[in-house]
Amino acid sequence: MNGIALGVLGMALLSGCSVPGPGGAPDGIHDPYEFSNRRAHMFNRDVDRTIVRPVARSYGKVANNDLKTVVDNVATNFATPGIMVNNLLQGDLGGFGKNLYRVVINSTLGIGGLFDPASELSDVALVDADFGMTLARWGAPEGAYLELPLLGPSTERDAIGRFVDLFTNPLRYTLDPPERNVSTAVRVIDRIGDRQRFGDTIDSVLYDSADGYAQTRLIYLQNRRFQIGGSDQDPYSDPYEDPYAQ
């Protein structure tokens, strides 16, 4: 299978992942490319301010919540086969089964994925997975923090994962051009919807923070490690043990 070949390629690339030396990652942050990352951050912020945020605000005015939910459902339904490939690669048969059930129910009862009866009627939630997560399960190191132009915060491991995931969705090979274009369009609109829905939070990080780059980096890494789980890092610092906290 294509995904496996790419996975092997991914593992080969990962041997080039940068690993911090002892004491080289204060607060769990390994960012040797900070200079170029900060330039990418400024670029991304400009793109957001001039294009993405205005488009998202207009979308928010045009689309009501029901339409946004439908777009979200369709985008998720299209993405699910790719997620299922990663469920399998992680050996997560339970997750694979739940997602298979969701695709079958939502594509039929949910009228081609417009609705999400799998969540609403039978309480079967999506078990998310992606190739960056798969690499983590296979024991690949996180690597250095990266901020990618247009794509945003990532790590060396997640950047490889994102690239491989361009190929992991079987629908890419089975859909013909009109449907494939619809799927791409829906995915883009869904991302714009996310920008609108979490607008205040994103604005507060990008525009109100004293150091939006550092906030973006910290929030991304913490949330991503939480999603992936199984990290041996202990996020529970104890302020009562800190000598300056007494």
Binding site: D27, N65, K68, T69, D72, A125, L126, F198, D200, T201, S204, D208, S209, A210, D211, A214, Q215, L218, I219, Q222, N223, R225, F226, Q227, P235, Y236, S237, D238, P239, Y240, E241, D242, Y244, A245
Partner: protein, 205 residues
């Protein structure tokens, strides 16, 4: 012999009495000061208050006042504030610490109040409590319309004098660490001046 043994026993009774008296005064290592049930009770009350505010339909500024009251009542604001200052807290005078703590409470109430406002139409449900290290971890789920439920975790301790939460995680994002990074960046912008930081904090959040 008899006298001696009775003297001994009297002495040991006295010693035992003194020890017992001391034990009630000294902190006892190994004994959990705060129970999981107590921590859960605190978070239940906290979550009920937050749910009440987000369901109240009050104006934005009225909600921030409510959230400031909630932070003051349920969280150890002085400890959180001091932690976010890090080693810079060492150089701060008591008056600066007091002013910083006051502005910090307003700042986090507005900032996290905005996050909680996004929960309007949703509910937070407490799931369970578990002892971790020297404190209690209380997990809850935020259930919002049209969105997968996500985890909000509170860490509760009674080292601030009574059961209070001192950290909060929204989907793994740690409030203490996030705010220490932010306050650190604000201090850097003011070249380490705490008075400058306090000034900037008044308009932040």
């Amino acid at each position: 012999m008899r006298n001696n043994s009775s003297a001994l026993s009297r002495r040991s009774v006295l010693a035992a009495g003194t020890a017992a008296a001391l034990l009630t005064v000294l902190p006892q290592p190994g004994q959990a000061a705060l129970s999981e049930a107590q921590a859960r009770t605190l978070v239940d009350a906290l979550v009920a208050d937050i749910n009440q505010v987000i369901a109240s339909g009050k104006s934005e500024s009225a909600m921030f006042t409510e959230f400031s009251r909630i932070f003051g009542r349920y969280s150890d604001v002085p400890t959180i504030a001091r932690y976010t200052l890090g080693t810079d807290a060492r150089g701060a005078s008591p008056a600066q610490m007091a002013a910083f703590t006051k502005e910090f409470q307003r700042y986090i109430s507005v900032k996290y109040g905005k996050r909680f406002r996004e929960f309007i139409g949703g509910q937070i449900e407490v799931q369970g409590a578990k002892a971790v290290k020297s404190f209690i971890e209380v997990k809850s789920l935020a259930k919002l319309k049209g969105q997968a439920p996500f985890e909000v975790t509170f860490l509760v301790s009674d080292k601030g004098g009574r059961p209070l939460f001192f950290n909060m995680f929204i989907e793994g994002i740690n409030m203490l660490l996030t705010e220490r990074t932010e306050i650190g960046a604000m201090l850097d912008r003011r070249r380490g001046s705490i008075d400058g930081l306090i000034q900037d904090l008044k308009s932040a959040g």
